[in-house]
């Protein structure tokens, strides 16, 4: 049993302007991962501006004070690197992994768009990336069966004005209404060094990284009074189950059962993580054994349960199954609910618990097996919990979860009276 899930060194510093810098040296491969977490996500978006944090992420690749449009991509790929960025309700992250000799280039590029995006932002760029994002929405959410499930679940789980009420991709109407001034303000408001964590993992020393960070980021001014997102930590239970039925162009009935649980990072969420693995990961899981194999209600490849790792409010647990031919949505939904309910009444056995912990251990070490996986993890813990070293505690915390804790958590947050059920039904064929 490992004492820590992070057996590599971690060193941190904070520049005068508030930028936190985290370094984890590992000379195994001649590569270095650079990762920035900005503490801004779709939870900060007011009504009428849904999708703006994510659209803004696109604009960060379109040039800055000393970098021409699309040059960022060209310079990183032209150095042999991989890069991307993602936005979720909690935060926005930007990352590249390059051969180690290009570390300084990566830091220069990141500093230039942190400190110098606004002067380079043009209407043309905004219009272009707005179209790209609308196509992203079509491709990922609108043009695939069940693609809008996440967009439907969030407003069922979280009430209006809750920071997780709307999905990060936003609405077409809001995206169409986005104007340039709003994005200039968005950058000035949130893209400040004291609202970010810079993490570097791999073939570089802490002293070298700290000096380069100071050289490139040191003169970017801090911003006072960065506005916080609405507080979503308390979501009153309604005591009313919520159901939604969607009839559409889908190949088979599918049911999603969802609950608000605990915030990522809490002991309760560690319990939930193990619970979700017991419930829905792999052929030995309860869902597979009961619904795919046992009663044969569900298609074996499409049963699952997972928590969505969000830290600023009770995070969702999503449980899903898709009907085998001839099985009705009602029967499947009843079966799914029954298996979830049994987490309270049928104790998790030692075998089930060991299986879940073994799968989670492998998943953890897989995330740790690359420098980019480690950099994103350290950035998360520094941003959300103030200390990257807390990453090392996650795996031991999972391994300490007991069967009793799972039953207690299930009783507390997975009650049928506080359940969201979303059902997709195929259109009747004429």
């Amino acid at each position: 049993m490992p004492d820590s899930g992070y057996p590599w060194p971690i060193e941190t510093t904070r520049l005068d302007n508030g930028l936190r810098v985290v370094v984890s040296e590992d000379r195994t491969a001649p590569a270095v991962a650079v990762n920035l977490w900005y503490d801004v996500g779709s939870r900060h978006e007011p009504d009428g501006q849904t999708g703006f944090a994510h659209l803004f992420e696109h604009l960060m690749f379109e040039g800055s004070a000393n970098v021409a449009k699309t040059e960022h991509m060209k310079l990183i790929q032209g150095s042999g690197g991989s890069l991307n960025a993602t936005t979720n309700p909690d935060r926005t992250n930007y990352f590249e992994t390059t051969p180690a000799e290009h570390l300084e280039l990566a830091l220069w590029l990141e500093a230039d768009r942190m400190g110098g995006l606004v002067p380079a932002l043009t209407q043309e760029t905004l219009d272009n990336q707005r179209e790209v994002v609308k196509n992203e929405r079509r491709q990922r959410y609108e043009n695939v069966p069940y693609g809008d499930a996440w967009l439907r679940l969030l407003p069922l789980l979280y009430p209006p004005r809750h920071p997780y009420h709307h999905a990060t991709i936003g609405s077409m109407a809001d995206l169409n209404a986005a104007d340039l001034g709003t994005f200039q303000d968005f950058h000035r408001t949130y893209y400040a060094p004291n609202n970010a964590v810079l993490t570097v993992v791999g073939d570089a020393s802490p002293a070298e990284v700290f000096a380069l960070a100071d050289k490139y980021f040191g003169a970017i001014p801090a911003r006072e009074d960065i506005p916080t997102a609405p507080d979503g930590r308390n979501v009153p239970a309604t005591g009313q189950p919520v159901t939604e039925r969607v009839t559409g162009d889908v190949p088979a009935p599918r049911v999603y059962v969802a609950h608000r649980t605990y915030p990522f990072g809490s002991t309760g969420y560690d319990v939930l993580t193990v619970l979700a693995t017991v419930l829905g990961s792999g052929r030995g899981s309860r869902l597979y054994q009961r619904l795919a194999d046992g009663e044969r209600l569900a298609q074996p490849d499409l049963v699952g349960a997972y928590g969505v790792d969000l830290a600023h409010a009770p995070a969702p647990l999503i449980v899903t199954a898709t009907a085998r031919p001839g099985v009705s949505a009602e029967r499947l939904a009843a079966g799914l609910s029954e298996v979830v309910d049994e987490l309270v009444t049928v104790p998790v056995t030692a075998t089930e618990l060991d299986r879940a912990k073994a799968l989670l251990s492998t998943a953890w070490w897989r995330q740790m097996s690359t420098v980019d996986g480690r950099a994103d993890t350290l950035g998360r813990y520094a941003t959300q919990f103030g200390d990257p070293a807390r990453a090392g505690g996650r795996l031991p915390a999972w391994l300490a979860v007991t069967s009793e804790q799972i039953a207690e958590a299930a009783a507390e947050v997975l009650g049928a009276c506080d359940r969201v059920t979303l059902t997709y039904l195929p259109e009747e064929t004429p």
């Binding site: 195994t28 491969a29 590569a31 004070a65 000393n66 699309t70 060209k74 310079l75 790929q77 150095s79 042999g80 690197g81 991989s82 992994t97 390059t98 051969p99 000799e101 570390l103 280039l105 220069w108 400190g115 110098g116 219009d127 272009n128 707005r130 179209e131 790209v132 994002v133 196509n135 992203e136 079509r138 491709q139 990922r140 043009n143 069966p145 073939d203 003169a219 190949p251 088979a252 792999g282 052929r283 030995g284 194999d293 298609q299 490849d301 499409l302 085998r324 060991d354 299986r355 073994a358 799968l359 989670l360 251990s361 492998t362 070490w365 897989r366 740790m368 097996s369 690359t370 420098v371």
Partner: protein, 447 residues
């Protein structure tokens, strides 16, 4: 201005090293391993000469059904006990199938590797294959394919493949089969396929900290009870180009995007132009700043992304471009994509573009080859294509050495814009007239 205006140059490059490769013969099979000192995770992958090419025409999807059936119980335990044993080690059997090979692998903390390989071998060599289970797995696989084929893409891919390679040939049909071909399989097809292809020793690929791994014991477990001689893999197949372009329209009523698949046949993997072709494909459609992505996404905003590449297996290859574009711009997106392919074929690449392509492809060998899973995949390439231990280091050198003349020559030789098949999966009622009016080619409805 508070920012540093001058772009920094590169520091001193660290030497590139692919992990040390170990090859040995154990118990009638081959073990090929890479040493990853200090790595907590390890991967073992059994590579069999049982790719989709081994499936008879009309039996597409056989390998996929067998892959699932392997986990429905073995000579030693039933399906549930098997799942608990494997997952209790923290792993799952991951199966993969391509034209050249069948792969089954486990990924575990290194101290559990030998137990995981024993279970892997138990499923591959001694599956129960109870007729009732096999029929159920087949039905589930057919349903799973039906679900997948409800998404945009698989029908377009199948239409392109059939048009390029001919549906009379196994390689002109979908790699994983289609819902109908899988529905038509019977129990004997599966058991015979197993006895023909899954009893041969194959190659065990291992990536991990070899100081903590006993390769001989792993090989003995993987090859126990295996037998049979080498497989005739067949030579490269000559695939003729079409005499003209054609548009194949796959109807998807109500679709808010059109799925594009453009392509033509291209050389097999061992062709001497492999490296310059790869780089030409990177300039045209591989990098983010590629010609296609720059024009269709970054300038026009027609799509979330478009990419193109040359892909090849041991016996054949294809050049293909894929994207999803907003329905209203289907015709202009096609015209501009064909325009970029033509421009690249006629005019070649520039040094500026090639510099990005060669550094990116070479650098990816350092950046992407970190995890045991990716190293195992790189070892698989060595085995499938009979390449030497120092292949990745040599590949890096040849990528960095490729010049504009070579890559432009490869583009001129291996791109065929006049012979492209353009498959469009979208709302036919909305886009048909525009496609015809675009004048690229005759529009044919998919069968």
């Amino acid at each position: 201005m508070t920012l540093i205006t001058d772009r920094p140059g590169a520091g001193t490059a660290r030497p590139y090293r692919f992990p040390q490769v170990v090859r040995r013969t154990v118990a009638g099979g081959q073990v090929v391993a890479a040493h990853l000192p200090g790595q907590n995770l390890a991967v073992a992958l059994l590579l069999l000469d049982a790719g989709a090419s081994c499936e008879p025409v009309g039996k597409e999807g056989l390998g996929g059904v067998l892959a699932k059936a392997l986990e429905e119980g073995t000579a030693h335990r039933d399906a549930t006990a098997y799942a608990l044993a494997v997952e209790g080690l923290g792993t799952e059997l991951v199966t993969g199938l391509d034209w050249d090979s069948f792969q089954v692998s486990v990924q575990v903390p290194v101290d559990r590797l030998s137990a995981a390989v024993e279970l892997l071998a138990e499923a591959v060599r001694t599956p129960k294959l109870d007729p009732e289970d096999v029929r159920r797995v087949r039905d589930d696989e057919a349903t799973a394919l039906r679900m997948d084929w409800a998404n945009p893409g698989p029908r377009a891919d199948a239409a392109l493949r059939a048009d390029l390679f001919g549906a009379d040939n196994r390689w002109g049909r979908p790699m994983y089969g289609d819902p109908d071909s899988v529905t038509g399989l019977d129990v004997e097809d599966v058991t015979v396929f197993h006895s023909q292809w899954f009893i041969r020793p194959g190659t065990l690929i291992v990536a991990g900290d070899l100081e903590r791994i006993d390769l001989d014991a792993l090989g003995a477990a993987a090859f126990a009870g295996a037998g049979g001689g080498p497989v005739d893999r067949g030579g490269p197949i000559e695939v003729p180009l079409h005499n003209g372009r054609r548009i194949i329209l796959v109807d998807r009523p109500g679709s808010v995007q059109s799925t594009l698949r453009l392509g033509h046949p291209s050389p097999h993997r061992a062709h001497p132009d492999h490296v310059p072709m790869t780089l030409a494909g990177t300039v045209l459609g591989g990098a983010f700043t590629s010609r296609l992505n720059h024009l269709i996404r970054e300038v026009r905003g027609y799509t979330y992304g478009i990419r193109g590449d040359f892909a090849s297996s041991r016996r054949f290859g294809r050049f293909a471009v894929s994207s999803g574009v907003q329905t209203a711009v289907t015709a202009p997106a096609l015209v501009e994509a064909v325009g970029e392919i033509t421009r690249t074929q006629v005019g070649g690449v520039t040094e500026d573009e090639l510099a990005v392509a060669r550094s990116w492809r070479a650098g990816q060998l350092s950046v992407e080859l970190q995890s045991p899973r990716s190293i195992a995949s790189a070892l698989t390439t060595l085995v499938v294509h009979d390449l030497p231990d120092d292949y990745h280091a040599r590949l890096r050198e040849s990528l960095l050495a490729a010049d504009v003349a070579q890559v432009s020559e490869a583009a001129a030789t291996h791109l065929h814009p006049e012979a492209l098949t353009l498959v469009v999966e979208g709302d036919a009622a909305v886009i048909r007239d525009e496609l015809t009016a675009a004048g690229l080619a005759e529009v044919i409805d998919a069968g």
